[in-house]
Amino acid sequence: MATQAPRRGAQSGRVKSDGTHEGFLRHKSFRWLKIAFILTTTATLGYLFIDVKPRPNGGSWYGYLLGIVSTLMIVWLTMLGVRKRIPSRKRWSLKGWTSAHIYLGISLAVIGTLHTGFQIDWNVHTLAYVLMMLVILSGLWGITVYAKLPRQMSLNREELTENQMLEGLRSMDRQLHDAAQPLDHRYAELVRKSLQEDPFGGGLLRRILGLYRTSKARKTLAQLSEEIAFRPGEDNPIERLDALLERKENKVRRLRKHLQYKARLEVWLYFHVPLTFALIAALSAHIVSVFFYW
């Protein structure tokens, strides 16, 4: 039926997408999954077939090899934090880096474990190992939220930006304030109280879990509204107020959800990153002690 025009912008060999959204997990058809698989398989086979004497141990030559590989990998994996903040001037995209970070990070669980030779004890060596496993676990948690939440966050925000949501709330507040002016002092006071309530207070935990109480003022108003309901032929200002409050509540709910998703997308990092630093400290202690007691 038709023919494509010659590609535009093909003059300077720029890197171009092929037009598909390939996520960080499927990056280059799972390139890093494959590499991580080869790495772990090789390490495991080595562990099984290389007969180190007297028993598999971090101090054998194979143990040192695994240890060096693991240390280098940990250092490199940590560098993602730096890379993320420096816009790349090279060809390696952050997506590729993330993909590698994930699969190599998971493979570290295998390689690190093989490095221990399954000798677990109450010492600084095991501390480093445990911290590493915790970092990996928190990372897995991160992967699941990254894989699951963006879609829900997108559905929830419905083309609104966070600023628009906040602005929407502010405009509701103004409307409420205006609507309360002609009312009885009692009601006006209630509205004023409801305007003073902070719908987002309560700290990170509440934000993540999304456990908020219904506004007290709203509850009271709803009751009052029922009290004076069913007066035929009259435009009930309380009902109007109630409707406004309900609309505000919907907006608050959406924004709370939005903030909840955002927090959940980030909170794992509050474990992942400090644990990483702890791991590096413990790892340094582990390395120094190993060489000190050589």
Partner: protein
């Protein structure tokens, strides 16, 4: 005036008392020639008399000297008219008012002019200076004869509280529209409509005033819009984005005017061409094909007052036997031709250009003189470089002698294609902002005319024949480039004889599935979508950007159209006659093979979609719906667009941060804003439109298109904000550069500075140097040109949610294949 005998034989009868006629009559009077000035109304200079009250009359072109016995300087309409009235009295001009000429008979030496009141006037020679205002171009759309359509505007103060549409954004239209909004107390809602995107025929000062009024919100300007129908109270437009119906109580149509051809031809005067806008054939002394009748002023193709007055003076001198007189613009033209070899006269060079350059063939000598005032004649020695690939430049070149060589291969300058005498090059510059596509050097010693972009647009707007030949040449080049297959211009001549350029409004189909038809369409501007009816629903199958062709399937298979092709945005297509194209394919088996293979690819695609339809109907539906969503959001005019898959976007804003960090600390995109459909998000970021709106009125011409197709703003930006207002997608910001941030590592380790991304306004204010002035400039996406690894927003996305693609890539079936895999 006096009581003269009507049977007297005058030396000169001057018909029309506008600037040209008045000047001619004054000259005749000064020279002591017996003359009569015939005016059909009861006042002098009816065209200017009919200008709206208080209108400022301009005196352009500024570089042209006035040569007349009456004065003229820019000023108010009233002042100008008063001066003329007084001075023509002072010059003892013999005027006969209420004298409309109905017929001219006789021959040189004894003409008889019959007036509508039955009187006759006899004269040896006649000067026709009747202008064209008596014959305005009329509305031809539905309802074009409605009583609320008017073709002039006397007093803009007479209308209150009305919705008024002014059609045509030439000088007259702009001045009328501005007059109607001059007093806000009148509360008029005024819309001005322009057929094209630019104001090619209007004076610069008028265009600037219009843009100011628009920016101030006093006037609505609709460009690229035509009128579909007029009905009482309403008007319907065809705009870039489809049909729009708006309120309208009054239509003022100022779409130019044409010579009153019937009358002129009845006087025995021939025209240059059968086109409506053509002018009479004139000699260099303004003499028409009927000896003894001279034509000057707007009727000669010269609408500007200064020209008219100079011609009035000149024509009387010619009639009086002064053959040595040179036109007033002679010194300017002499200077222009001075650098050409052979030290020939101006007349020689004008004639030389006219005969040798195809696009100038149809111009009268007078038009050519004016044209040359805005153009340059240049001489190039063999191998001189005329322009270099990727240089900015928007002028058009025409070859008057010699030939030039186009270096088609940037890596090997020895591979060239010649362009011969008479033809043009650089026509791509007429498309806004394109850089030079290839280096061009002189193949032998040659003479070229360099035409500024504005002069070329004006030429096309005022001389249909020139427009046609520029179009034909660029169409020919486009076809050659598109089909390749060893075609030569000669092969294409038959196909080109039948070509037709059609404007297609957004959403209109050029090909309808199931209909018979074998014409081929080439998309010249805009873009198209292809749809097929599958299971009773239109299913999107592909997207065609400008530069694609369509329709070969119907032609080769000889049957019904296999799909519907409709315009995604207002587009231009070149329609080629199918039968002629078929004959061309028979002659050129290579072309046939190419077309056939293109078609096979398309058929495969159709089959693929049809087969998927049963097994993966929801995937196909989604693909179709997303395509429709993207088209709605202006992707049809995009060449490169940022898309975010919200299934993957974690909202980290790393894209914005990376953008800011690679561009002086200012982000050029807003990730969160913008429309979303089925998790496909179109953020606020430049799409690098095929025909960028931002380029339209950039005073320093700071917006250009780079080698990768990126539209970027260079350092000459003056911060006027026109581009920001013109961008329909809101992707341009006006900002000043924030101070330099401390390095990322000192932030990471010591918490210095605001961290990655755009610094907050507060930080920016606190840390910028107060002694340096903060001039905001326009900033927008430049597609990270020059940065290896491509756009920073994409390479900084940790999850792969952000991609930058051409619509033709994104809307290709590979996506459907991958998604369903």
């Amino acid at each position: 005036m006096g009581d003269f005998a009507l049977s007297e034989l005058y030396r000169i009868a001057i018909v029309g008392s506008g600037p040209a006629g008045l000047s001619a009559a004054s000259r005749a009077s000064k020279l002591g020639l017996s003359h009569v000035l015939l005016e059909k109304t009861d006042h002098l200079s009816d065209t200017i008399y009919k200008y709206q009250k208080g209108k400022h009359v301009m005196a352009t072109p500024a570089q042209l000297k006035l040569r007349a016995d009456i004065d003229f300087a820019a000023g108010k309409r009233e002042t100008v008219l008063e001066t003329w009235e007084m001075q023509s009295d002072g010059n003892k001009v013999h005027t006969l008012k209420n004298a409309e000429v109905k017929a001219i008979a006789g021959a040189k030496g004894d003409f008889t002019l019959t007036l509508t009141n039955g009187q006759t006037v006899r004269a040896e020679t006649i000067v026709l200076a009747i202008g064209t205002q008596g014959n305005p171009n009329r509305m031809s759309c539905a309802g074009g004869d409605s009583p609320h359509i008017q073709y002039s505007l006397d007093d803009p103060g007479a209308y209150i509280d009305e919705h008024i549409t002014v059609i045509g954004a030439g000088d007259a239209g702009i001045e009328n529209a501005l007059g109607l909004v001059a007093d806000p107390e009148q509360r008029n809602t005024v819309t001005i409509v322009n057929r094209s995107e630019e104001f090619a025929t209007a004076k610069d000062a008028n265009v600037q005033a219009l843009i100011h009024a628009r920016d101030a919100g006093r006037i609505i300007v609709r460009t690229k819009t035509t009128t579909l129908s007029v009905e009482p109270g309403w008007i319907t437009f065809d705009t870039r984005d489809g049909e729009v119906r708006v309120q309208c109580d009054r239509v003022i149509a100022r779409m130019g005017s044409a010579p009153p051809r019937k009358f002129i031809e009845a006087c025995g005067i021939a025209f240059t061409s059968p086109e409506r806008a053509a002018y009479p054939v004139l000699s260099a002394t303004f003499e028409s094909t009927n000896p003894g009748i001279y034509v000057i002023g707007a009727l000669a193709g010269y609408p500007l007052i200064k020209h008219c007055m100079n011609q009035g003076y000149d024509v009387v001198e010619f009639i009086n036997g002064n053959t040595q007189l040179k036109p007033a613009d002679e010194p300017i033209l002499e200077a222009k031709f001075a650098s050409l070899p052979g030290s020939q006269s101006v007349d020689y060079w004008l004639n030389f250009l006219k005969t040798n350059v195809v696009i100038l063939n149809q111009l009268s000598t007078l038009q050519l003189r004016e044209f040359m005032l805005d153009s340059e004649a240049r001489f190039y020695k063999r191998d001189d470089v005329i322009f270099v690939r990727n240089d900015p430049g928007s002028s058009l070149f025409a070859i008057a002698a010699g030939s030039v060589l186009v270096e088609v291969n940037p890596t090997d300058p020895s591979i060239t294609v010649p362009i011969g005498v008479g033809s043009i090059f650089g026509e791509v510059g007429l498309i806004s902002g394109r850089r030079r596509g290839a280096t061009i050097r002189a193949g032998e010693d040659c003479i070229c005319v360099e035409v500024s972009r504005s002069a070329a647009l004006k030429l096309q707007a005022s001389v249909p024949a020139a427009k046609r030949s520029i179009e034909r040449i660029s169409t020919e080049r486009q076809l050659l480039q598109m089909f390749k297959s060893g075609l030569t211009p000669a092969d294409l001549s038959e196909v080109l004889d039948s070509y037709e350029i059609q404007a297609v409004s957004a959403g209109k189909a050029i090909i309808t599935e199931g209909e018979l038809g074998n014409d081929i369409f080439v998309i010249r501007q805009g873009s198209m979508v292809v749809e097929r009816m599958i299971g009773g629903k239109p299913v999107f199958t592909s997207y065609l950007p400008a530069g694609s062709y369509v329709g070969e399937m119907g032609l080769i298979n000889g049957g019904k159209r296999a799909a519907t092709v409709r315009a995604a945005i207002k587009s231009d297509v070149i329609k080629l006659d199918g039968t002629a194209f078929m004959r061309l394919m028979e002659k050129k088996p290579e072309l046939y093979a190419k077309t056939k293979s293109d078609m096979a690819g398309r058929e495969e695609l159709n089959a693929f979609i049809e087969s998927k339809k049963d097994t993966l109907s929801s995937a196909v539906d989604l693909y179709s719906e997303q395509a429709a969503f993207l088209m709605e959001n202006g992707i049809g005019e995009a060449t490169d667009v940022l898309l975010i898959d919200e299934n993957l976007c974690i909202g980290c804003d790393n894209c914005e941060k990376a953008c800011a960090d690679s561009h002086d600390g200012l982000s050029r995109l807003d990730r969160e804003a913008g429309r979303t459909y089925a998790h496909l998000h179109v953020p606020t970021s430049c799409r690098h439109c095929e025909h960028p709106h931002c380029m339209l009125d950039c005073p320093p011409n700071a917006i250009n298109r780079g080698p990768d197709g990126e539209v970027f703003i260079n350092d000459t930006c003056i911060g006027c904000g026109n581009c920001q207002r013109n961008c329909p997608y809101g992707v341009i910001r006006m900002e000043y550069e924030p101070p330099k941030k401390p390095s990322i590592l000192s932030w990471l380790f010591f918490g210095k500075g605001p961290g990655p991304g755009e610094p907050s306004r507060k930080w920016k204010k606190e840390n910028s140097d107060p002694t340096v002035s903060k001039q905001s400039k326009a900033i927008k996406c430049d597609m990270c040109s020059g940065i290896e690894g491509g756009p920073a927003c994409v390479s900084a996305c940790p999850t792969g949610a952000a991609i930058r693609v051409g619509p033709e890539q994104f809307l290709s079936v590979t996506r459907l294949e991958k998604n369903s895999a």
